[in-house]
Amino acid sequence: MSWIVNFLAAIGRSVLDFLASIGRIAVFTGQTLGHLVRPPFYLKEFGQALLYIGYFSLPVVGLTTLFTGGALALQIFAGGARFNAESVVPSIVAIGMVRELGPVLAGLMVAGRVAASIAAELGTMKVTEQIDALVTLSTHPMKYLTVPRVLAATLVVPVLVLVGDIIGILGGYLVGVTSLGFNSAAYVNNTVDFLEPWDVSSGLIKAAVFGFIVALMGCYHGMNSGRGAQGVGKATTNAVVSASILILAANFALTQVFFSV
């Protein structure tokens, strides 16, 4: 009987740990939002975060969406051929990119690049007592480290996604015109005619939420990193995994809110 008790106890412990983690993340989120609206504001740190998260993520987001747009065009063309609907390629590529693939893929790529980097940087700062040093220098770590990164990611990921959407549609266009026999002007017209403003703006709202999630998870896991190299490594992994899962979960929830009939 004892193994049953141990088994149930282990499940109970896991559930309690999970709930405690959710509670800690909720408190951290509340604190971040609280500091977001109260001075002092560190504009230099915000500018640096904007540059790092936005500008330096452009190549990875651009390449990801370019190839995805091209692959999407090929898939839709091949699938559409089964019921003589090859002509829908431009409109489906455009809608698919701006509503779903652009925000999600850009969010996941930024999660891999930025959440990992933030967690590693802040985790290292924690284990080398740099965060304690900030406190002794009368600087609140949440205001100085978390707020600039979270605000920058929330504002700049939508811009990244907008650029990614355009590049993704361009990828579809290049494949459509060069390999699938589409007329260039007709492809562009089909893309523009079928896209509605809400298609684009819903994707950008998702992107802002994903940006918030990425930076928040990076900061949370970094600032709660364990000791030593192993602790920082674990924090980095947890930041990427939790940001990715939360992005996919938030994407489902937002899609349901925006588009459920």
Binding site: E129, Q130, T139
Partner: protein, 251 residues
């Protein structure tokens, strides 16, 4: 002399590990107090409790008559400077910005040129040349990083300075240099100093008074001159580096 830091019955536990079990300690204004004790005896926890980096479970800590955890936190912290064990320099910014960190933002903010001039002056004070100012911490040796940390600790001319293991990881000559610098700066500034260390040469060079922490309480405290004839077996064992009783080597 009036009391600058007053700790009464300070307790702190981490799970089942009762690190501090009622520490009572008073440090007078302008005094250099050195706290010694074995590894894991709670010296750093005690120091961080004063700064509010660690919240004590019980007990009271007063700084200049005011409870440490209450009141304007920024004004409270502005009275302190701290040299961390590993330096804790911000590796994303050059040395001068590390030293002038407090002078570039917040209540003590100065024009950038003035902050840089003060930083270079403080670097010179700790024996570093002006050209070091534009290097990054990763480009410095351990001894230089300690000096930069020391320059940062004194940059805003604080009333109270904490030194956490100031000579750990340094060769004996550099340790001697750092000890001398600390003593000179503390006397020159008239600051109250609290140092934690294992290094007995540091104790003799820096301390006015010494307190030994053992089993979560202050085992012995008194003037540094009385340390060798204290009659306390644990203190004798510590300062003479004996592996046997009363402190167990395996903890």
């Amino acid at each position: 002399m009036s009391t600058m830091i007053d700790m009464q019955g300070v307790h702190k536990s981490f799970g089942d590990n009762h690190v501090l079990r009622g520490v009572d300690l008073a440090i007078a204004q302008g005094e250099s107090m050195v706290i010694i004790g074995g590894s894991g005896t709670g010296k750093s926890v005690l120091l961080k409790s004063v700064l509010g980096l660690v919240a004590p479970d019980r007990g009271q800590i007063k700084v200049d008559g005011q409870t440490a955890q209450s009141g304007d936190r920024d004004a409270f912290l502005a009275r302190f400077g701290m040299l961390f064990q590993g330096g804790a320099l911000f590796d994303s910014m050059p040395v001068w910005q590390n030293v002038a960190f407090r002078l570039l933002r917040g209540a003590l903010k100065r024009p950038r040129d003035e902050a840089r001039t003060i930083a270079i002056e403080k670097l010179r004070r700790v024996g570093l040349k002006g050209r070091v100012a534009d290097l990054y911490p990763a480009e410095l040796s351990g001894g230089m990083q300690k000096r930069v940390g020391l320059a940062r600790a004194i940059a805003s001319e604080p009333e109270i300075i904490f030194f956490d293991e100031p000579t750990t990881g340094l060769d004996p000559i550099m340790a001697g240099v750092i000890n001398e610098l600390i003593r000179e700066i503390v006397v020159e500034m008239g600051a109250t100093a609290m140092t934690i260390t294992h290094d007995m040469s540091s104790v003799r060079a820096i301390a006015d008074r010494v307190a030994m922490i053992h089993d979560g309480v202050i085992q012995w405290s008194g003037p540094v001159a009385d340390m060798d004839n204290s009659g306390d077996a644990a203190l004798d064992q510590f300062i003479n580096a004996r592996a046997t009783d009363p402190i167990e080597a395996v903890r």
